[in-house]
Chain length 674, copies 2
């Protein structure tokens, strides 16, 4: 008989095969992306396919009922035990008996794509560095003595055409029991980079729990991690903890100072962050209910100071010009190298490359996630955290810098500030006529002037104001005429509202007086305004510096990244002059883009190669030594700005032309110079 024509969808790959050829074999020979862990033994079920029957005019074939071999006992056993979707066949069992069209469903594709939520973002292609391989290993033979590992390597070569991998001592210790428990059948997790490979875990028999990895965003203030399945890219757990280094200094430079002033201080901070990573990993893995031995990889993104402190490198050089990194390249390490326990003993760790002494692997991760280098229009990406990373560019050129905004945007150094947690005011409006506030509190779905609000917040109370809340409050005060362009708060007389409370020589705006119920009095003080002004000036100055470098006066769109960026109102941010003027619909949030970048690098090893290349083409601008940064910083102190007109903003928002500077106190002038 003639060979049969086989057409795979969705790839469209086609070829002719001798009748009797298993579908999996045909797929492999054609390079069709069809998964298999067991190598065609009918036990892993990864190679499920759906044959199509009838006429396929598009492909020019008609598929007869007998085009595939009959449903067999292996398939039936699998279906009885695990279930199989109607119409599905196991690719390793079904044999080609006639012309046939075979669909490979997404879940059977090894390099399937994971759709990300953000509409603008690219999908993640699943191509993890670690994969599972099931093998049958020859038993030891005294006539031909060889090690169990050597026979495992032979099996990997014979059954998977894999070159001889390395094996960590921790895995070697598990090898003999696993082989014997699995009756000489084992599943190994093989981590491959380039041609070399390393076995990072082993299980008796066919391992069905999959393998997972951690994508870790190690920030100065918080450490966030996603636990991702390395089979389908699913996020199966997320969690965060405070960075315990905060006790050594709130911002990066105070931690660098701590290391410089205290012998052993850097090592102390290294231990603290390594232990925190282990606690976080342990908690997230326990909560997901998976075996720690399955967590075979981690990808970490962080700023340069955290990068060095994690690796036990004294960050002293990062505290002074020329801000030299010990290493800027990506790092392929082991979990043990960074003191990370609670995962597979031989787990591999990848740290993204840094861009410069002030622009770290977190910025590289944002670049990986948001891909400014692939953007047609000019995009400004701002990752707002304790330090802001700023990227500006398009497919022609990308620039980057970082700017020391400090933690005010996160609610720190704010009189009534607190972290974003239940009880915190997160949104706020001020009636431009009555000057009365209405607000929302994290943990309650109602605005403060809606019925039921009091009951809604009874459990948490109203405890303070978080980062997004303070930004909205300041912007609303500016829009309501309670604050002038220089950042001075008006008095009760000047604005005609009893909510303006005198505080020494300045004033504060009373948002909420909970003192009757033993709760806090929540105000926005002149000091809070100044803190926000400093932070936003730094952010805006950094962005302007990049725009100068590129020779542009405006950008096409703005992306706010960072966990906090997700909660910032574009309008309020622009009233404050945090970001350059664009139409509001051109401001989007990318969520935790650094964390997403870490996830991409975890799921797709080619993304690692890509970002390693990309960072070489990103032009770095050092804000700390650039005189224009100071000029931009001073000009950006006003709300929204002393000289930039913000025409798009003024189309949608009216900013009252008020001035509360009575000429006497000079508070504003003094503080502006601090």
């Amino acid at each position: 008989m003639d060979d049969a024509l086989v057409i795979f969808t969705p790839s469209g790959k086609r070829g002719r095969f001798a009748r009797g050829t298993p579908v999996l074999t045909a797929a492999r020979q054609l390079g069709v992306d069809l998964d298999s862990v067991c190598g065609g033994r009918g036990i892993c079920s990864k190679c499920q396919v759906t044959p199509g029957y009838g006429a396929f005019p598009k492909h020019g074939v008609t598929v007869e009922p007998g085009a595939l071999s009959d449903w067999n006992a292996v398939e039936q056993r699998y279906k009885d035990k695990r279930g199989l979707i109607e119409g599905r066949r196991l690719g390793c069992q079904a044999r080609i008996e006639g012309d046939v069209v075979i669909d490979v469903p997404p879940e059977s594709q090894l390099h399937r794509q994971v759709i990300r939520k953000a509409a603008t973002a690219r999908a993640i292609t699943m191509n993890p560095a670690t994969r599972l391989y099931y093998v049958e290993v020859a038993e030891p033979d005294m006539e031909n003595p060889s090690g169990d590992f050597e026979r495992l390597c032979e099996a990997l070569a014979d059954q998977w055409s894999l070159p001889r991998p390395a094996i960590a001592p921790a895995v070697l210790r598990r090898l003999q029991p696993a082989l014997r428990k699995g009756n000489w059948r084992v599943t190994v997790a093989l981590h491959r980079t380039g041609d070399a490979g390393q076995i990072t875990a082993i299980w008796p028999g066919l391992h069905e729990g999959g393998i997972q990895g951690l994508a870790i965003d190690l920030g100065s203030t918080t450490i966030a991690a996603h636990l991702c399945d390395l089979g389908d890219g699913r996020v199966i757990g997320s969690s965060g903890v405070m960075n315990p280094q905060i006790r050594f200094g709130e911002d990066l430079m105070s931690r660098v100072s701590y290391a410089m002033m205290n012998p052993g201080g850097a090592a102390e901070m290294t231990t603290a962050v390594q232990e925190a990573l282990t606690r976080l990993a342990t908690a997230i893995i326990a909560e997901a209910g998976i075996d720690a031995a399955q967590v075979v990889e981690a990808v970490i993104v962080c700023n340069p100071v955290m990068h060095h402190l994690l690796l036990g490198i004294d960050p002293v050089e990062l505290g002074q010009a020329p801000f030299a990194l010990a290493t800027s390249g990506s790092l392929a390490l082991t979990a043990r190298d960074i003191g990370l326990s609670g995962v597979a003993e031989a787990a591999q760790v990848y740290i993204l490359p840094c861009i410069a002494g002030h622009v770290g692997a977190d910025a590289a991760a944002v670049a990986l996630s948001e891909a400014p280098d692939k953007s047609d229009d000019l995009v400004l990406i701002v990752d707002v955290g304790t330090n802001a990373e700023i990227l500006l560019g398009n497919r022609d050129r990308v620039l980057a810098c970082s700017s020391p905004t400090g933690p005010a945007f996160e609610g720190a150094q704010i009189s009534s500030g607190q972290r974003a947690a239940p009880g915190a005011i997160e949104r706020l409006e001020i009636d431009p006529v009555t000057r009365e506030p209405r607000f929302r509190v994290i943990g309650c779905d109602l605005w403060s002037d809606e019925p039921g609000f009091a009951e809604g917040v009874a459990a948490t109370g109203i405890t303070g104001i978080c980062g997004s809340g303070i930004i909205e409050a300041v912007a609303e005060m500016r829009m309501a005429g309670l604050l002038d362009a220089s950042g001075l708060i008006g008095s009760a007389e000047q604005v005609g509202s009893a909510r303006m409370i005198p505080q020494g020589r300045t004033h504060a705006y009373l948002i909420h007086d909970g003192s009757a119920a033993g709760g806090p009095v929540i105000t926005v003080t002149q000091g809070d305004i100044r803190a926000i002004q400093l932070a936003k000036s730094a952010l805006y100055a950094g962005a302007r510096l990049l725009m100068d470098e590129l020779g542009v006066d405006r950008v096409d769109r703005v992306v706010l990244a960072g966990a906090f960026g997700a909660h910032i109102s574009a309008k309020h941010a622009m009233v404050l002059g945090m970001i350059p003027d664009v139409t509001l619909d051109r401001v989007s949030s990318a969520g935790n883009a650094a964390g997403t970048g870490a996830r991409i690098a975890l799921c797709d090893q080619e993304a690692r190669v890509a970002i390693e290349e990309t960072v070489h083409h990103i032009h770095k601008v050092e804000t700390a030594i650039e005189p224009r940064f100071q000029e931009h910083f001073v000009a950006a102190n006003a709300l929204p700005h002393a000289t930039d007109p913000f025409p798009e903003l003024r189309k949608v928002v009216t900013l009252p032309e008020v001035s509360f500077n009575t000429g006497g106190g000079g508070d504003g002038a003094r503080r502006r110079r601090r």
Copy 2:
């Protein structure tokens, strides 16, 4: 002017070079083996050469006085500071100005040969996996930010044409201080295997302390280490400690049993041996007075059980057929992987391959050192320890086995036995007429019947009998007719000597009665004879098994290896029938051949490749399952042997035809079966 002819000796390499070419440059272009750490900057002095002047008829040139450029200031400064042998020039400073013959002295050759003491052994070629490279690194530039490590890699590429190496976190931590202390000049230790490389240590400026490595022979009873310079191969320190695992079991199988019977027992033994290695390394390095950071490599050889216990692998599989090793291949690890501290933090560890479940990396090391695969005649190599490794072969074929001799040869399980230490009887003769013994004691240069002996041993006393002593004692008893061929000791009446002391139903031979002075009574008991018989039978049976396999009845020569082998008298060993019959001058000692093999692998990375290949061609014979082993074992019980005639031995030694079996006790018959 014409190019000048340059001839290098001893290599004979020659070529023509433009006048003004530095000698080092010419040497490199011709592939002449001329060392340099500083890369031609005139500071390391490794490239010293001796120009020859006058007529060289052999080379067809006459060298004029101006053939090299004048002695320069760099050379003068070096000579003033460090001294330079008369006539020597620095190859990087001296330039070729005319035809010249240039001798490269051995100490300037990178791949110099180290002459080993044993006359039969091959010289060691210096080609260590780790080498020093001095580089000048570009300073950081904020305009072009890159990590210090990346600039170091660029310097290695530019100045040494080296591919980008990896760097361990422990070394990365030292990078920035070293670069700054050395004013952007550093020396790195680069460990290269194949194309890849790893920086394992770094020093500011030109590092002049060299680098060293440890060659470790990890035995069941003792752990011995040599500290070797990786520049010239010199052994700069040697030391040994007891293997602390002895408390878990004297021989290997009792340690395997301990691991099987006690949960956590294997881990306990792993910790014990890892700690002992660290103590040994620390002591030997401290004694040599070198900086631990310079010790960048270690090579370890050991038997399979020690191999697994060192790596933390449960040795249970080695205690039962089919004696499967977890891995038989060589291992490239880090010091941290095997819990070895006290050396460079990123030190690399190489463990030689094992040959089979009972024939370990120590046997591979013996094969590397004694090279039976390169021998023209048929050589039997016996590494005598608690377990004996036996190799038999020539360039056509090599066989290997191990045989469980137990520790009797090391003085253990012997009534008056002790380790070879001051106070131990190490040599012994018995007058065939008077049956009186004379002996020598470790720590005293005199025989016991020489004047001054009593004073000579006053400091140590006479404390027991060590391995070589008990072998000589038993052999001498046999030659003096105090012991029959079956191993029975005669009574005082039977042999006519008061030194034969009754002990229950058997007798003992009194060597020394120190009880008057409060010292021990040293005897050789019937039990001691039986222990030696068991040990020597196992050894001989193993050798015979290999001879059977090869189809031969005799061997051309015998090499006794092992620290103990160095002290065995060939004649006495053959009287006991420990080794097959050959003329005595064909029995030689190789000293600690396993340790030498470790040293070779430490000094020459190509030797690692060679032995990895060689072990694949060694045919392994498993004594434990071979029925003929039992037959050979029983036949070998007699002294020297029940059936093998030992004609060469009988040419030089008379063995009295006595028999002390009175037929009643049956002690000998009973014990022989134990």
